[in-house]
Amino acid sequence: MTLNPFHHSQVRSTSVALLVGLFVSGPAFGAFAPGGFSVAVVSTAGSTTPTNTVAPVSATTWAATGGWTFGGASVSWTNNTQGWNSLTSTGFTSGNVVIRNESAAAQDYTITIGMTGVAAGPLVVSGSVGGQFLNTSFGLGSLTSSGPLWSALVDGATARNEFNNTLVFAQPFQIISLGNANFSNVVVPTSTASTLAIRLSVRMSAGSEASFTSTFAFQAVPAPGAIALITVAGMFGRRLRRR
């Protein structure tokens, strides 16, 4: 391919690259590091350190697979997390968490899946959660939550709660669908954010299992200055194309 400085696509990509360069030359957190992903499990069953393996899926997305087991209670997860983009302050985490109680008594679980970086606010967040409860005991199984079962957090503050005060019963070897919840365009009035997280809080009877799939994505609300810069860059590109 011969380089034509006036070819439309090349001019467009040049101006976009210029714009990207302007932003990336500032803070250097465009590249996501696997350390930006964290999982914490707190359970009445006991305390131990989770194991977690992080591997790249693409240039900006990492897959985390891990587990936590103590005294018959276990949690396992597979979660994809996209790095924080310094240009748009965007990112997301999406995945599945399976909680199992093989102990002899009901157990409480709090699982927090976090992603860390620096994002300029205010932010617009969206996400979803869905799940099912499976009773593999020979008695009546139950899943409950005191307050929200699922929360989306920005720097520890709640951005969204779903599945409030859940109470579900299942017969032996019965699966109960917990339904789903979706939200979008929720504005979080923060100037900067360094930790975004999903938190699951649930109590499960002995011999039961719950599976949750959830996503949490954020994007910065474009500041007036950024909008003006993008407009100028667009006009500049258009002028180049005319020439």
Partner: protein
């Protein structure tokens, strides 16, 4: 003499229960075909297995064998037999893929006749934030098929179509059940039970399924006859005991 017999029977039972506890995990296996590209193996080779009861094992693991497909699971199995658990599959490619995933468990002992029950439920998620996700049956077939000796004995979610239409959205689906609350009669099962999942999944998206398949043996007629005889025998003995008690009461 009688106490010696009781002791020896007790020791034998204890030894049997201890040896039962040390039984190795059954060769629970899976096979995954993604657009015809096959993979799989022994589930225990791709994660951990823990014995949770004398005849129950919990398998947890993950698999990245087929390029562009991430699979993880947690399954509780009993060769007596049942298979139950959850798996999640993510299509990390840029095109829709057809998946056929089998989880197969050898049964022990064989069942001359069976009573079956099963259920499936799940979620579909727009994992890549594209604004849509789609899960469908392959050619209108079952998404969930209960297998006995590698043959389909029950199916759920025929002509399935689940979709997400919001960015980063999730939808839950209850895929139905069979044999709840009254199990349905099934065939004899000699070698294995299993669950087959067959579905198309859109690019960049995830699906998670929780499922159950239980096969209970129907007592053979001879067992029923023996049971009846035992019942009649014990009733007769009870009557005799009552007679003796009456006689004893009359004497005194």
């Amino acid at each position: 003499m009688r106490s010696a017999w009781c002791c020896s029977i007790g020791v034998a039972l204890f030894t049997a229960s201890v040896s039962l506890g040390a039984v190795s995990a059954p060769p629970f296996s899976f096979s995954l075909a993604a657009d015809g590209v096959a993979g799989g193996g022994n589930v225990a080779d791709f994660g951990t297995v823990v014995q949770t009861a004398p005849t129950e094992w919990l398998f947890q693991g993950s698999y990245h064998g087929n390029s562009g497909t991430a699979l993880s699971w947690i399954y509780l199995v009993d060769p007596d037999p049942f298979v139950t658990g959850t798996f999640t599959v993510t299509n990390e490619t840029t095109t829709t893929r057809d998946y056929v995933l089998d989880f197969v468990l050898p049964v022990s002992p064989a069942l001359t006749a069976s009573l079956l029950s099963g259920q499936v439920s799940g979620t579909l998620t727009d994992s890549d934030g594209s604004g849509s996700a789609l899960l469908t049956s392959i050619s209108g077939g079952f998404v969930y098929s209960a297998l006995a000796d590698d043959s389909i004995v029950q199916g759920l979610m025929a002509n399935a179509l689940q979709q997400v239409t919001s960015v980063n959205g999730t939808t839950s689906f209850s895929g139905g059940s069979f044999g709840f609350p009254v199990p349905v009669s099934g065939p004899s099962i000699n070698s294995s039970i299993g669950i087959r999942f067959a579905f198309s999944l859109s690019a960049g998206d995830s699906a998670s399924f929780s499922s159950v398949f239980v096969a209970n043996p129907i007592p053979a007629p001879s067992v029923l006859v023996v049971g009846c005889l035992l019942g009649v025998g014990s009733r007769k003995r009870d009557t005799r005991v009552t007679d003796y008690a009456d006689r004893f009461a009359r004497r005194s």
